[in-house]
Assembly symmetry: C2
Homo-oligomer: 615 residues x 2
């Protein structure tokens, strides 16, 4: 499009943003208006995309990091012919695809859910990594950021990663409208302040008047022709641009325009320009055709193996069997054992250094391009990326997260390194799967099963060695459990997972000596939970004792309730979990101090079968 047409298109996007927010009675038109010219030039002259084939491997990728500017995005979809005017005006209404913040579950052209700021660029880095190192179909990744969100550290994790990886297929377009939600940003219209920061991280930068369509056009061209570096376009804009009542004024964030009709007239009225978006280049997906034979590692029962070791070996085997599996590390691959995969499949291994937010975001970006990512760090440090996990579930992203060094069982390193909240955190994520194996063969099977699930899948692994108790051909369905001890005269069921399975078996043995028969359930699938087995155990034994190397809130003990929260009779329950703040000590001392070792289980079990209160 030429200058005049671009200006008109920008005004159309403004008008449609005002109309959509007006119809909804809520939304962020002023944040859309600042970026309208940036969007118009991109859509008309640079973006290569087939809206009828969003899965086209040659398509450019666009991420609206400032997700609240969704009216602008939807107005652009309308200009491209992907949604019609009627649908545009369903914005933010019950049942509409056009939600307050865009999500890929609803709209096929959205790469990732946004709305929590500072996430679009890290996810864009993941997509750009895919384009550069895996897909190699030549697409570009365009991320429209707000200026306020540059205060998020995750943006600088992304800047560091993209700069270091020379992602010249990535462009960050920063809409510097100088106004955040509650007032002016830290740096106002000081484009240099942002440029200095991006440059320090190895980016090429362009400063531009974001309302001068020709200048913006040249800036995009400069980004396209810059080699070896990602480009940040820092665009000086005005919030609410084009309507005097709201332009560059505070206190109007997230509010529809009061006099929408006047505003639309001031903007030149409703238009119906249609953009012929450039076709993507012909390209084909690589990973769809690469599939080998899956041969999982096998261990003999009685061997002593850490589940983290089993994870590393199983993932490596999975990578051999499936060409679409990729692995990500947060600079602890020697601990999580992701390094096993790195040695075998270096081309599909992504070192993210100590930047857990970027690691999870990269996984989301890679999943958006069809890869099956496994991202691992210490379970404790996945807490760093919880907002990214939450948003990934809104995206419907299929990612595998692995947290090693679970619980007090790690021993001497102390509480900062102990994953003690991870089960609670991951269970609360919508549609998640939470797995916690106790031996090597079980781990291997679960690692393979995870690849085929929907949504967020979490695997918890342990640091120390534990005995292999299952044969290598045993089956471990998701949502299942294993009954490890069983008799018709069981008076108590102990439900355990991971390290506490072994403690539970020892406790059951001890109680058996005293004439108390105990059922032991290995609840390796913490979510979804095996309701049938738990209900049968409750019926048979009358009481349940849960034991977990995790805080008492939100973990295994609470998960068991899932089998009984529908109004049926509930068995008597006791929950053993980590209730104190651990210090440094050996793994055995830690389990004992936390009251989750065999001795503690046996003591609580005795009281429970005697119908006494367990203190």
């Amino acid at each position: 499009m030429n200058t005049g047409e671009l200006v008109e298109l920008g005004q159309q996007l403004r008008v449609d943003s005002v109309r959509a927010a007006g119809a909804a009675g809520s939304g962020h038109p002023t944040s859309s208006m600042s970026a309208a010219d940036l969007m118009a030039v991109l859509l008309a002259n640079h973006f290569r995309y087939d809206f009828d084939r969003p899965e086209h491997p040659g398509n450019d990728r666009f991420v609206l990091s400032k997700g609240h500017a969704s009216p602008l995005l939807y107005s652009a979809y309308k200009a491209a012919g992907a949604v019609d005017d009627e649908e545009l005006l369903t914005f933010r209404k019950l049942g509409s695809r056009l939600e307050g913040h865009p999500t890929p579950r609803k709209l096929p052209w959205v790469e990732t859910a946004t709305g929590s700021l500072g996430q679009g660029l890290p996810v864009g880095v993941g997509i750009a990594l895919s384009g550069k190192r895996l897909d190699r179909t030549g697409y570009r990744v365009w991320v429209l950021c707000g200026d306020s969100e540059l205060a998020e550290g995750s943006v600088w994790e992304a800047a560091e990663h993209a700069g270091h990886e020379h992602l010249d297929n990535l462009t960050a377009i920063v809409d510097v409208n100088r106004l955040g939600q509650r007032g002016p940003t830290r740096h106002g219209h000081d484009l240099d302040a942002y440029a200095r920061r991006f440059q320090a991280f190895g980016w090429h930068t362009v400063e531009v008047d974001g309302h001068d369509v020709d200048a913006v056009d040249r800036a995009y061209g400069e980004a396209e022709s810059t080699k070896g570096q990602p480009t940040a376009i820092l665009a000086r804009t005005l919030k609410g641009k084009g309507v005097a009542d709201v332009e560059d004024r505070e206190g109007l964030h997230g509010k529809p325009l009061k006099n929408a009709d006047d505003a639309i007239e001031e903007l030149g009225g409703v238009r119906d320009l249609r953009v012929q978006v450039h076709e993507p280049p012909a390209a084909r997906m690589l990973h769809a055709v690469r599939a080998g034979h899956l041969e999982l590692p096998r261990w003999d029962t009685g061997e002593e193996v850490a589940t983290r070791d089993a994870y590393g070996q199983a993932l490596t085997a999975l990578g051999t069997g499936r060409g679409d599996v990729v692995a990500l590390d947060g600079e602890v691959g020697d601990s999580t054992r992701s390094e096993f995969f790195a040695k075998e499949h270096p081309d599909r291994y992504f070192e993210c250094y100590i930047a857990e937010q970027q690691m999870v975001a990269a996984a989301v970006g890679l999943a958006a391009r069809g890869w099956v990512p496994y991202a691992a760090t210490f379970a404790a440090f996945l807490t760093r990326a919880y907002d990214f996990v939450r948003m990934a579930s809104i995206s419907g992203a299929g990612i595998n997260l692995v947290g090693s060094h679970a619980g007090v069982a790690i021993g001497q390193d102390g509480p900062s390194q102990m994953g003690l909240e991870d089960l609670a955190m991951m269970r609360a994520v919508h549609g998640s799967t939470v797995l916690y194996p106790c031996d090597a063969n079980q781990t291997a099977h679960l690692v393979a099963s995870m690849a085929g699930l929907d949504g967020i899948r979490y695997l918890r692994t342990g640091r120390g060695e534990s005995p292999v108790i299952y044969g290598p051909d045993e089956d471990f369905p998701i949502g299942g459990s294993k009954v490890l001890r069983f008799s018709q005269s069981d008076r108590l069921t102990v439900v355990a997972a991971g390290v506490t399975v072994h403690e539970a078996l020892k406790a059951a043995e001890a109680l058996d000596q005293e004439g108390i028969r105990v059922r032991v359930v290995d609840l390796y699938s913490v979510k979804p939970v095996d309701r049938a087995t738990l209900r049968q155990a409750a019926e048979d034994t009358g009481c349940l004792l849960t034991v977990e190397d995790h805080r008492e809130e939100g973990g295994l003990g609470d998960a068991v309730l899932d089998a009984f929260a529908d109004g049926r009779p509930v068995p008597r329950l006791v929950r053993l979990a980590v209730r104190t703040m651990p210090g440094s000590a050996s793994p055995e001392e830690q389990l004992h101090a936390a009251g989750i070792d065999a001795e503690s289980i046996a003591a609580a079990g005795r009281l429970l079968v005697e119908q006494a209160i367990v203190p």
Copy 2:
């Protein structure tokens, strides 16, 4: 100390680090050895500290951000006479104060727990803010960072904040030993790479050979004399410095030296130098003496008030009544209503922009200096800072966190803005208090009570208006609840909190019309939970129905189990919660779609009293 003495002291710190890790059989001696000279010069010539009076308001503050280098810290304590050699060798043993990573709960000289990387500098920023804007006793804050941890975005949130606030009382000492846990860092010994980044964020930088004690001494002097900017000292060092077997070699992270005796000999043997640390200047605390009269805001029953509004007003009143209360915002103060406090008490208000990790870290730093911080953002966005909350609980920090815009009840903005995992996340934190008020007077009382509690306190507030149902003089003890409907013939107890209390009351009214008497419990204290009331309700009515605007995992429904997890009989239970992924819709439509409105409660309640299974 002169050059020769400093060199000797550095060697002593190395030797003691090797000895401590050797005695423990674990730990990070090589990470300690790289920074030994940096620590020696600081301790002997620049740090001003009274080890007998860690609470001295004039004391400098030291934060070991690379917390795994704890042997170095403890060796420095020994050199300063604060611990003896015998205690040094208890490192990492059960019961020792000298844990794998330092924590203030155990050691009075530690400002904040570290061990999750990238947290020391943000907390240091909080302490420096306190020194600059509140305490004004002239202390300096020294933070020893690793180079690997500079990949964490939180470090750049801190860099941005400190640069913008001109914190010239803050010095970051970066031990650039070029080796992370699993191998080389991204930038190796490229000090310029780090310098460019810090400079871009407004810092003064000094590049130095970290083993040249005179150069290090000059660098500290330069930091002390630099005005208007924080200083980053980028020190080129070698991991394992001083022992040829381990110096600058990969694969030795977190491992005691194999030949400790030879290493000690190579380092010149055991020494017993004692450092006379400089005295801090005379100073007194300001906030201890400032206390006014607390007059909480009052509302009449029947008024319609959002709990977030009540929060803002109550916090403002609390700030008037207590001179030690401070508030922090993540650039959403107009939404959380923290801005009310800002208008009244601008000197005690800290705008952290959109950087939730830095916001929570600043709260931890301010709490370490004796202030009572209230940090607020959307409940959804506190997930961004979960690792900081977790570490704050290990510190034993007393901080108040407030999450607004809870649940689907926010309406049109959609799932990215809805706090739906926050109760699970906060409940799982050790020693936390979790509060969820349903009306304005209740909110005000809880805001005031929070200030006096230990540990992490979380308050969940709502966006929309709700009716005031309690009088302003009602009492709301922590760990209590309110029985809102009660009769001797109740057949069902509905347990609710926040927005669902009002739905529960409507449902109870409807069921009453049908002849089903319903007890309604307002469980505003989600943790600790009111066990007595819940047990009585179970005994009286036989079944409980919980209803919450939160995911079904880890929230109110699970909290109720706390009253019954000691082996006593458990009532029949049904848990209503948000089980779907919401889109955009009005608040009323959202509550209905999620199945947590009055109609859904009444329907489930009917089935439950009929002893039917509730689907």
